[in-house]
């Protein structure tokens, strides 16, 4: 049976891609950010996941307003990124896991999640940057990927509770998969930031810190907020913490934080990183 080895949540700021390309890991601006990742690299080297199930949000690459899904899931043999408008570097195609995708789709639709299924799908920096952060220097990715996209573009967004429940259902579905797989669950985005409006530049360290402190042990604390409340607390793009809630939901049951990092600012954003494992309280 498949087993969830842990959950990783990380920011996905586009500027990180350029910093990786220019090898700025020791640059004073970037060092406090990149220094968060080696413990996660060591953990990944130890647990050796076969598959990454990644909750992320598309930023206007694969989806436009003519067909904007609340929840979309990939069921493609591989996933490519592409120019997002500012010539982002392309990465090697990420291999998919179609049988696992279809297993998840069967289970989730059976649990009344109204998915949009994507047998071909471009993935943007919100997926590729976390992958590059977690498996640096990969010419060939050591994991297969199943992307799950949550709408943050067009309001109404799914509620935080709905995203958390989606994650829980994904977790149950993974654990019901008959193949002997080690699965890492990833949530990308956040933490607090706002790009648009007179409130641009908004960052809320106090909220982020409490959110990270509570996520493993008390995920419902954040899941109970409304979308409008979360936008007020974390900014229009800080709402990407929905991905963190979904990943935490997928981890299921009781969990503990193994490692975390938090640094302000990267670009306009409060950058966060967490590694959680299942654990009795």
């Amino acid at each position: 049976m498949a087993r969830i080895v842990g959950a990783i949540t990380t920011s996905h700021i586009p500027a990180i891609g350029k910093a990786i390309a220019r090898n700025l890991h020791e640059d004073p601006y970037w060092k406090p950010f990149f220094d968060g990742y080696p413990p996660v690299h060591r953990w990944l080297a130890q647990v050796q996941p076969d598959v990454a199930v990644v909750f992320y949000n598309d930023h206007g690459l694969n989806f436009f307003l003519d067909r904007m899904p609340t929840f979309a899931i990939g069921a493609a043999p591989e996933y490519r990124n592409a120019d997002e408008g500012w010539g982002i570097p392309t990465v090697p195609p990420l291999p998919g896991d179609q049988p696992l995708s279809w297993h998840l789709i069967e289970r989730l639709v059976g649990e009344e999640f109204d998915l949009t299924t994507c047998q071909e799908m471009l993935v943007d920096h919100a997926l590729t940057i976390p992958m590059a952060l977690l498996w640096p220097g990969s010419g060939a990715w050591p994991v297969r990927t199943v992307p799950i996209c949550i709408n943050t573009v067009q309001h109404p967004l799914p509620s935080a509770m709905r995203c958390y429940k989606l994650g829980q259902a994904v977790g149950r579905a993974i654990e019901a998969y008959p193949e002997d797989l080690r699965v890492v669950v990833i949530g990308t985005g956040g933490l607090s930031h706002q790009l648009d409006g007179e409130r641009a530049g908004f960052i809320n360290k106090a909220f982020d810190v409490e959110f990270m402190q509570r996520l493993a042990g008390d995920p419902l604390w954040a899941a109970r907020y409304s979308i409008a409340e979360l936008v007020e607390l974390t900014g229009t793009q800080g709402i990407e913490l929905l991905m963190w809630l979904a990943a935490r939901g997928a981890l299921g049951g009781e969990a503990a934080t193994v490692h975390s990092n938090y640094h302000i600012p990267i670009s306009n954003t409060a950058a966060g990183l967490m590694l959680m494992e299942r654990r009795a309280a």
Binding site: G60, G85, W86, D196, E198, G201
Partner: protein, 115 residues
Amino acid sequence: MLPPLRDIPGTTLFDGVQAMKGYALNKMCYSFNSAANREEFKRDEDAYCARYGLTAEQRDAVRRRNVLALLAAGGNVYYLAKLAGILGLDVQDLGAQQTGTTKEAFKARLVAAGG
């Protein structure tokens, strides 16, 4: 339609009201995922905007490179980011413009948020 659930200062949620206003503008900006389309826009901005049927307000906001005006005309930040790319503006430029300050002051505010 439902009234907005909550008024957040300096913030407009991109809901149905904004979406109805901004469709032409956002569709144009979505086309900028393609480098060829970006070149075409640069070659003849007027013709490109006309082809997507931008309203006068949207056309004017594009001409002025004014982010707050683009948002007021129904622009969605995720699609506008692609227009900003063409114009050579990064997210700190956008932040400084929207908050009426210099880029350096805007960046200093970001750093201060970590204090």
